[in-house]
Amino acid sequence: MANRTLAICRQAPYGSALAREGLEAVLAAAAMDQSPELLFVNDGVFQLLDGQEPAAIEQKSLQRNLQALPMFGVETLHVCKLSLSQRGIDPAQLQITGAEIVLVVDVGKFIAGFDIALNF
């Protein structure tokens, strides 16, 4: 039976390369028709905030990578509800065109449904 793979994104964008390189890995897998499920948790939820304008810090917007996900067949973004509330983020603020945001209450139970975890 095929492995069920989850990519766990825990890092804020821009301060380190890990958020970007994580999404690049997910896009590469999706391009091979091996789309992992995606979970944004802890500071990873900051990747989903609207209005990012990183040009002045000489970086490319991560939102372009996020918006590419649905085009490669990753249409559901799982987001930890607790991580949002800890950071004062209203789930209604999160919008990625073409993607459905699904809030996860029990992160441990969610993770347990997978065979393989990619950690970013």
Binding site: L6, I8, R10, Q11, S16, L18, V41, N42, L82, V107, G108, K109, I111, A112, F114, D115, I116, A117, N119
Partner: protein, 93 residues
């Protein structure tokens, strides 16, 4: 059951507390590298139902004693822990 691996000190990183929010009853938690500094304080309450391990070599390298509630293991036992659990999740920042 999931194996969680924490490699950063709880005094400088949220890795352990983030992990604690994702641990279910029966999961295993392994402290490695600077993660073993968690031995020097109370473990988060949410981890009460998890089986706790630490890498003996990492604790010894840092001069830390391993309390009886936590099993000190070698690399070979770490490998077997990985075979006994899935998925394996690393909390490293």
């Amino acid at each position: 059951m999931t194996l969680h691996i924490v490699s950063k000190s709880p005094f400088s990183s949220s890795a352990l507390s983030d992990c604690a929010n994702a641990v279910r009853d029966g999961d295993a938690l392994l402290l490695i590298e600077d993660g073993v500094y968690a031995l020097s304080r109370e473990m988060p309450e949410k981890l009460a139902a998890a089986k706790l391990y630490c890498l003996a070599a990492d604790a010894a390298a840092r001069g830390l004693a391993v309390p009886g509630s936590i099993e000190a293991i070698d690399d070979a036992r770490w490998v077997s822990l990985c075979t006994e659990h899935h998925p394996v999740v690393s909390w490293f920042k």
